[in-house]
Symmetry: C2
Subunit: 315 residues, 2 copies
């Protein structure tokens, strides 16, 4: 057990992850380059947004880093899961990396990853709470069970290196988090892992060990996602697959604007709006009450959204 890591150390780790993720996606795209915007927040801190638009593989790839601080209104800390009295203002510090990539091809799934470190103090700077959070998940348009299985097995391997309980717990957490409750509990995608409020002592691990875990999650995509991109990028597709991709992206928009706590936190704390909403797809569609024939690829994809034990799947 140990005290919270220095903010400077966590910010430096996030900077490294951010650079690694940018280089990774620039290489994986095979064509486009990232535009970079540095922004600062009137209340304290700032970030670096990097966006690749109209790439060779990715229609849009956004890789964000931020380190922000300021005052949280009374009650806000409790809503974030903090172990603090709900009725008072607190000071927060948060640093993290967040990325979303929207491929052109409906055969390649959309990927999302986020890792973050959060600290709370009282108004005098006395530490109140500190935790880590993060996760990564996949949103396919086309039903390839073997891709879902690959992604989950890669995440299980990352988790298993740190604690035998992590994959099962964080996979289930993910299944319960990315849910469009207003759409009859339809999941956003085929899941992955999600976790939050991991504190010193979690599962017997000190904060340093948890930091190692979270940084491993932040570096998971070359093993978990790149092989999927490479084996699907040259597959043919048509207008029908593209339209279904745009409709699935519509559900992605609904989740992010209505339910996602990172987005809501960003809107509330006055972070740079273009960075907060960088996760939104470049193009999305809403088709009215579509019906998909049994056995169609669309129906098969929707069936795949029901949570299942992908890491143990036989495919």
């Amino acid at each position: 057990m140990s005290g919270p890591p220095a903010r400077e150390r966590m910010a430096a780790e996030m900077e490294r992850l951010h650079d690694d993720a940018t280089a990774f996606f620039q290489r994986l795209d095979g064509g486009g380059g990232f535009r970079e915007d540095r922004w600062s927040r009137p209340g304290g801190g700032g970030g670096v947004a990097r966006v690749l638009a109209d790439g060779a593989t990715f229609e849009k790839a956004g890789v964000n880093r931020s380190a922000v601080s300021g005052v949280l209104p009374a009650g806000a800390a409790a809503r974030l899961g903090a172990r603090v009295p709900g009725g008072e203002e607190t000071m927060f510090y948060a640093t993290g990396v967040s990325l979303v990539v929207h491929p052109w091809s409906p055969k390649i799934p959309t990927a999302h990853l986020n890792v973050r470190y959060f600290e709370l103090t009282d108004l005098a700077g006395v530490p109140l709470d500190a935790w880590l959070g993060g996760g990564t998940d996949l949103t396919p348009t086309y039903p390839y069970p073997e891709d879902a299985a690959h992604f989950h097995r890669a995440l299980k391997a990352v988790c298993d290196r740190h604690h035998s309980s992590f994959y099962g717990r964080f996979k289930s957490w993910c299944d319960h988090y990315f849910v469009n409750t207003h759409r009859n509990d339809e999941r956003r995608g085929i899941g992955g892992i999600f976790f939050d409020n991991l504190r010193d002592g979690e599962s017997g691990l000190g904060l340093e060990r948890l930091v190692s875990f979270v940084l491993d999650v932040g570096a998971a995509l070359p093993a978990a996602y790149e092989p999927i991109v490479r084996r699907r990028r040259d597959e043919a597709y048509g207008e029908r697959e593209r339209r279904f991709q745009l409709a699935r992206r519509g559900r992605y928009v609904e989740f992010n604007l209505v339910h996602d706590r990172g987005t809501v936190f960003g809107l509330q704390t006055g972070a740079r709006i273009e960075s907060v909403l960088m996760s939104l797809p470049p193009l999305a569609a809403w088709d009215y009450a579509p019906e998909y024939a049994p056995g169609s690829f669309e129906a098969e994809l929707l069936a795949m959204l029901e949570p299942r034990d992908w890491a143990a799947a036989s495919s």
Copy 2:
């Protein structure tokens, strides 16, 4: 002054408005036909959704009618502006017509209209409150000040027939309602009129007179919108205008999912989700941090979103 109009009477008026609006847009489209879905709500009531997709003029036109009733959780009535104690459950009845049309051409603005009647009783059925609400507003992609002026003048003429204060008050209410507060207070469009909680005695008018006003608003689009559609439908446009239209639609999605109280009410009361979200555009785009050159049509359109006195404009 009089008591609340019979629910049956209001439901019948809404049915007539719904039929009129469907016939109007079918004629105005000049090509497509409406699909109709009737739905019922487990908690009570139901509605009729009519959608025209891929029409000649409209990429999507949705005209909804609903009459729903049920129990509101404690506090919900107060959030709707009801004059009732906030701490108790109430019974509600609501009937209304809501429509949104998304034209293909970026030269034709998107139009929205809604009229509604709302009643609250206690759990024993004793009347607590009753009111009317509604409005109509325009969301252009291309900057035609004369179209904004025409729309507002037509609405002012409707309002002026009922009370000299209505246009000014309800125009201002609209300007303050359709605001993307998370986008530095950018307005969704060039406004129109918006009003809610109009009760018996409002501005010295009895409920019957208010019903007449609201029904006139419900019938305003043939005068306020049709001339705009007819003079813009044959104008040429290119990829650049279309892309900006899709980006403006992205802001439309943001407003409806994050801020619109009708949408939030629909999501909370378990109305049919495909009807609640029928207002969403068929296709929308999010461009990252776009910059528009001074003097470009995009910059001119954005400048037009700043509220101004369109009915008095000289154009």
